[in-house]
């Protein structure tokens, strides 16, 4: 199967430089809720740097993150962080920061109280707590609103506060569950920038999202998860490259689609040509995108075709999954 | 050949002003309450007194057969208005009424507050009044089963067991008493429970309040009464106020030596206060300052 190949190849590649020790390791991790499948047989290693966990809603991302932060017990398999088991191993959490998905707080607190109270649980001195809380608030740009009740915060502020509580104690491992959910473009950009900057000094950051560009904006290392299974792990370009050879539809809007279509038909890497009457565009299916896109500009220039648009309608996450599942 | 249109289809019906726009809320409220675990069992338990009283009515018609068990004490088996009054004001029944309120009433508004569901209701052509009526009717349903229904059943069965209308002729007003008292008790608890339920988003907290405030008033009144030796402190207790009015409605001597309309005044005042607060608390959006 294709997926297996992908993983095997990846291992083959990685075996050369195996001195990089994994921070988070899971072995045959499986989880059910009653009879509903949460996660199915996940064995993987996460190394330092930013790793993106990508998958549609309900794919098992949250379950995975909850398992590696010891909030729930696995039915089968084990999780270790730095070689130590996670479930009920609280001392591990001094170096872990977690940003939960749910939008819940101790609503009666102010942002400042929220951070300082949680920092207290790390056994810092009061001076340290205040310094760290101030720093975290500054990073997420909430300093001005720190004395307002969390209840009155907007969605973006709440999201940023959640991120703040996960980084306030300066952890080596940061795990963020859907930190970009419900944010406007400005707020999203702020958090992406924050996460990227925070990577520094060999921190391990795990971020989950259901939006491919969001993850791409942060990291190249991704884990694709779907229906409770890991479909692929590795460099995002590697996965993209793999998709290259897969039949793929490209939509072109231009001045003379029929002439262009004629030209395409002569090439064997073009499998199908279609016209979308409604949108007035040309749909071309190819199994070799490199060749196709190499040819395209040449055709445009040679035939003086005015191009309005080139898009790939199925160049999204779902297409990746559909392909990996083998649809 | 007609081909079904793809995509969004219209609904070719007429939206209308129902005469009871609150009725769906009530039906759903009752359905959801019965779905709660142990509720059926518990509700069955609260019907126990009614069953016992019913058996009493049967025995009252067969006194001869049961004489050997009674050892001459048959007064309490005399089915008369006092018999009814005892049922309607007995402590166990009132305790169970409060427990039923905790079970079925606590979540009526607080759950909607918790899950932001009020805006779903108020985005529809519902008035505040309809919403509250719908929720209150859930309480009416359960409490009338505990009060009105047994009352009517007692009267009917008394006549059936006796085989004549003697009982009805002797106390033609009794049915009115039953209706009046049932409605009063139910109305009061509806207001009381809805008020408590709108106080918080947390069902546990609301449950404690429903239970706590009721019993608190009782204990408080008992303490004051002892100190001041004044019957007027019975007015502090929700329970004794209800018992007081109950006695009057069944044309019995009031258990406490204070004018009954004071009690009525207290009960009405609580209801009005609750209505006022509910009107302010229940709205489509929560306003956070």
């Amino acid at each position: 199967m294709l997926i297996r190949c992908l993983l095997v190849e990846k291992e083959g590649q990685g075996s050369g430089d195996h001195q990089v020790t994994a921070v988070i390791q899971t072995q045959n991790l499986s989880k059910w809720y009653g009879n509903v499948l949460g996660l199915n047989d996940v064995t993987l290693e996460i190394e330092a740097g930013i790793t993106g966990i990508l998958g549609p809603n309900g794919a098992g991302k949250s379950t995975f993150l909850k398992l590696i932060t010891g909030q729930i017990k696995s039915n089968i398999g084990s999780v270790t962080i730095d070689g130590q088991r996670v479930w009920n191993n609280f001392s591990l959490f001094s170096k872990i920061g977690f940003c939960p998905e749910q939008d819940s707080f101790f609503e009666e607190m102010t942002g400042w109280q929220f951070l300082t109270s949680l920092l207290r649980l790390y056994h810092f001195s009061t001076a340290e707590i205040e310094e760290k809380a101030d720093k975290a608030l500054e990073i997420v740009e909430l300093t001005e609103d720190k004395h307002r009740a969390v209840r009155s915060y907007s969605r973006g502020m709440r999201q940023r506060l959640k991120v703040a509580q996960s980084i306030a104690h300066d952890p080596a491992i940061i795990i963020l569950d859907e930190p970009l959910n419900g944010l406007d473009p400005l707020g999203r950009r702020k958090i992406i920038r924050l996460i990227k900057e925070y990577k520094g000094e060999g921190r391990t950051i795990v971020v989950s999202s259901h939006v491919l560009p969001e993850i791409e904006a942060m990291t190249n290392q991704i884990i694709l998860i779907h229906q409770g299974k890991i479909f692929a792990q590795g460099d995002i370009h590697y996965i993209r490259d793999l998709i290259e050879t897969h039949p793929h539809i490209i939509s072109i809007k231009c001045s003379d689609p029929r002439q262009l279509a004629q030209k395409f038909i002569q090439h064997d890497f073009v499998l199908k040509v279609n016209f979308d009457q409604k949108k007035g565009s040309l749909l071309v299916e190819t199994n070799n995108r490199d060749k196709f896109f190499g040819l395209l500009p040449v055709l445009f220039v040679e035939n003086r075709i005015e191009v309005e648009e080139i898009t790939s309608p199925d160049d999204n996450l779902q297409a990746v999954f559909d392909y990996l599942i083998g649809k | 050949m007609t081909i079904k249109e793809r995509g969004y289809t219209h609904w070719d019906g007429e939206l209308r002003d129902g005469r009871f726009p609150w009725w769906p809320i009530t039906r759903m409220g009752i359905k959801l309450t019965f779905k709660r675990r142990f509720f059926k069992l518990f509700f069955g338990l609260t019907l126990m007194p009614a069953l016992v009283w019913l058996v009493g009515i049967y025995i009252s018609e067969r006194l001869e057969d049961f004489k050997f068990m009674m050892e001459g004490e048959t007064d309490f088996l005399n089915v008369n208005p006092l018999y009814f009054k005892t049922y309607f004001t007995n402590e166990f029944l009132l305790f169970m009424v409060v427990m039923i309120m905790v079970f079925s009433g606590a979540g009526l508004i607080s759950d909607d507050l918790r899950h932001n569901a009020l805006q779903l209701y108020f985005a529809r052509p519902l008035k505040k009044r309809d919403y509250l009526t719908g929720k209150a009717a859930v309480i009416f349903f359960f409490l009338l089963i505990l009060t009105l229904v047994p009352g009517v059943v007692f009267i009917l069965f008394k006549m059936i067991f006796a085989g004549n209308f003697q009982f009805f002729v002797s106390y033609p007003w009794l049915i009115l008493s039953v209706v009046a008292y049932s409605l009063l008790l139910t109305t009061f608890f509806a207001f009381y429970t809805l008020l408590m339920s709108s106080v918080g988003k947390n069902r546990r907290y609301v449950s404690i309040l429903i239970f706590g405030v009721y019993f608190f008033s009782d204990i408080f009144s008992a303490i004051f009464r002892e100190i001041f030796r004044s019957q007027y402190f019975f007015l502090l207790s929700i329970k004794t106020n209800l018992q007081q009015i109950g006695a009057v409605l069944f044309r019995q001597r009031t258990p406490f030596n204070i004018p009954w309309f004071y009690s009525l005044l207290v009960i009405v005042a609580i209801c009005l206060f609750a209505a006022y607060l509910l009107k302010r608390k229940v709205r489509g959006v929560e306003i956070i300052k």
């Binding site: 729930i72 009920n88 109270s117 | -």
Partner: protein
Amino acid sequence: MNPTDTGKFAFFIKSTKDVFSFFFTLTKKSRRTKIFFILSFLPVFMAFVVKFSQIFQLSRDIEGIYIFNNMVIAFYLQFLILILALFYGSSVTSEELEGKTLTYLTTRPVSKSSIIVGKYLAYSVIIVFMVTLGVLFSFLILNLSELRDLSLYRALFRDVAVLALGLMCYTAFFMFIGTILKKSIMFGLIFSFGWENVIQYFPGSTQKFTIVHYLKSLLPSVSRGRFSFLLFRLEPSSTATSIFMLFLIAAVFVVLACVLFTHKEYILKD
């Protein structure tokens, strides 16, 4: 890093202290606490009314300490501490699940036991403080004219101690219930006002299965007079046994709650 047992213990104490201060500061100012504070202060208000009317000769003259012992304590013992313990005890775990804030606690370097113990202590202290303050004020107001009689203070001390013990016990018990049951309130109400109320009057050893039995054993027996509706048919255990049993009950349930909370998995639904 291989902490010794004493090190572990010291760490546990430290974590518990931190959790304690977390919830102490959070809860002492919350709206619910304010409402319960008002509730527990109503006897003070009552004491005011009584004292006022005595001064102006509006009611019979009853000794302050008499009212205090019989009414105030009865109110606190049979009603208020149950309500408080039930709400705060079951809140220890339930509110974290309902509010989905459990995550913030379990992803910190504090053990689950210390979360339970710390929160238990924080809530206990708050409600003990609430009750003590109410009792103290009622006492002072009711005994305004006899404040020089030192023997009264012994009674006050004893009553406060009994109420505090009761709160500790009940809170521990309801906390344990809260960790296993979702519908802890229903159970709690039936336990408090059903079981505790009825079983305590059963003869022989039966009544020893209630917590209130040991609490009442610590209070002086009340003459079967006008107040018999509040306390009767008690066959008291000895003071030492009672105190021992109360501590034992509290400790057992706290430990059980810790064990359960540590090993049970809580899934937060969204």
